[in-house]
Symmetry: C2
Subunit: 332 residues, 2 copies
Amino acid sequence: MVGKRARCVFLGSLLAFAVIQAALAQTGPLPSWNDTAPKQAVLKFVAEATKEGSPTFIPLPERIATFDNDGTLWAEQPLYFQFLFGIDQIRALAPKHPGWKTKEPYKSVLEGHVEQALAQGDKAVLEIMMVSHAGMTTAEFDKTVRDWLATAKHPRFKRLYTDLAYQPMLELLNYMRANGFKTFIVSGGGVEFMRAFADKVYGIPPEQVVGSSGETKYELRPDGPVLVKLPKVAFIDDGPGKAEGIQRMIGRRPVFAFGNSDGDQQMLEWTAAGSGARFMGLVHHTDAEREWAYDRKSHVGKLDKAWDEAVKRGWIVVDMKKDWNKVFVFEK
Amino acid sequence: MVGKRARCVFLGSLLAFAVIQAALAQTGPLPSWNDTAPKQAVLKFVAEATKEGSPTFIPLPERIATFDNDGTLWAEQPLYFQFLFGIDQIRALAPKHPGWKTKEPYKSVLEGHVEQALAQGDKAVLEIMMVSHAGMTTAEFDKTVRDWLATAKHPRFKRLYTDLAYQPMLELLNYMRANGFKTFIVSGGGVEFMRAFADKVYGIPPEQVVGSSGETKYELRPDGPVLVKLPKVAFIDDGPGKAEGIQRMIGRRPVFAFGNSDGDQQMLEWTAAGSGARFMGLVHHTDAEREWAYDRKSHVGKLDKAWDEAVKRGWIVVDMKKDWNKVFVFEK
């Protein structure tokens, strides 16, 4: 009497179980991360931090996770995307500034020699870009960034820049939030540039974006108040500035921090120096095929001293090629 | 047959109903606010902002409410409490700085002539206080503030300074949060000074405190990294600076803002200039008996131009004496 039908039910159940297991494996946390050391370290940290009563437990308000942006949450080659935006802006604004034709670094940019403009160093370029937006209101600048992000295409991938967010990091942001962590960006990029897309792309609201900023001036115009951008840098949120920015804007020490370059070294040191459970991670760009491969010798996103410190102190270094089974969401 | 028992039940029910009503009236929102225009305006704003589908509905992420601190959330007489802290600090640190005995404004402070030190204006005093803490790490400064708040007593009330938070405003903060608003402090006070008590006293976490700040320097010491306070102001979050601070630190326009002095005028203008439902409020100090009475002529917390603008534009002005049935929690 234990006939065909019962056997079918049993086999069917086994099959259903296998299907559910496979689905769970695919939809478990961090599916774009291979089951290698970095994923294991994240899962272990979160399990310990959220286990009530354990000595590694982190109370909810202290669950502050900070992420660098360029090279950590989205790509940064061949140049920081904000620089590419700035170059497009200098070209667009040039007709209103005839003097730029003969004045460096605008001259180089307008003549197509971007590398010469960049030879001045990142900070100089950031300053130049801020200067080139002086006179705009913050609302006008926001619209300009949004328009650019909605239309400009990346030279290699021919896609919107926001498509170049890293799928594994989007999963990590969601995973951290699902476990009660408040996710912040702490980046050398301009705070108003990043806020134009951070909410939509990363799920990080404007008030949780810390970045470099320029001075502004409050003006009460006939149709209401505006903030006008001035040609003066207020704060550079890079290197040691990241620890200062965290202190000034967040006011608590992170327990979890992810970066990818020497500009993140002090943020990771500052995070590591707190007591209790900690996680410090670096993305190492090792995948020339799917993304880019660069580290010690790179002009953009140089990873040299911070890498040595990570190895020495046992911080997590993600090998993009080995540890991520997907880099961008559009990959097949 | 409708005898004594039924009547008793009926009367008992009536009594129970009355008791419940009375309890509701006492435990309803904002019990320390009289049922006058300001309370009605708050209740109306929140009802409209939270009514889904209505044109005045404000989506959750946009529910940003900003509050000035001195004179709005806690008292500010006879001097901003941070100044009283600074004076105590100058006295405490004087033995290490023999030069202060002959150098203004330290000389005046040390000789007990505080009013002479203050004649230089608020910004100068704020700068002087920052200078006097130069060389301390941010952790040392935080401890100094906490120690002072735990022991120093207000000259008039002989109570801890944190006891001088306004009970009606504590209720308002809770009420706004219960309705999905994210509450921020936006104050001219030093951000690190306020963070030492804002969480405990107001329920406002460090990352939601915007204030004035000084420059710091990152140092990697043998026992770990520190941020050392430098004798240089980085940002003054007052007057037009409040609109700038909101833009730089929060990155969204508030929909609700409360202040009490001319230093809050631009924050209220900036809030008012957004579209949709808005609330702009000012606390007017009218109660010399329970607190203080001051406005147009006051050195501390001067309310003059902002008051005129409030009247002209229909912003809410709280008459402390008339609109609050309780000022401090310790009142009987």
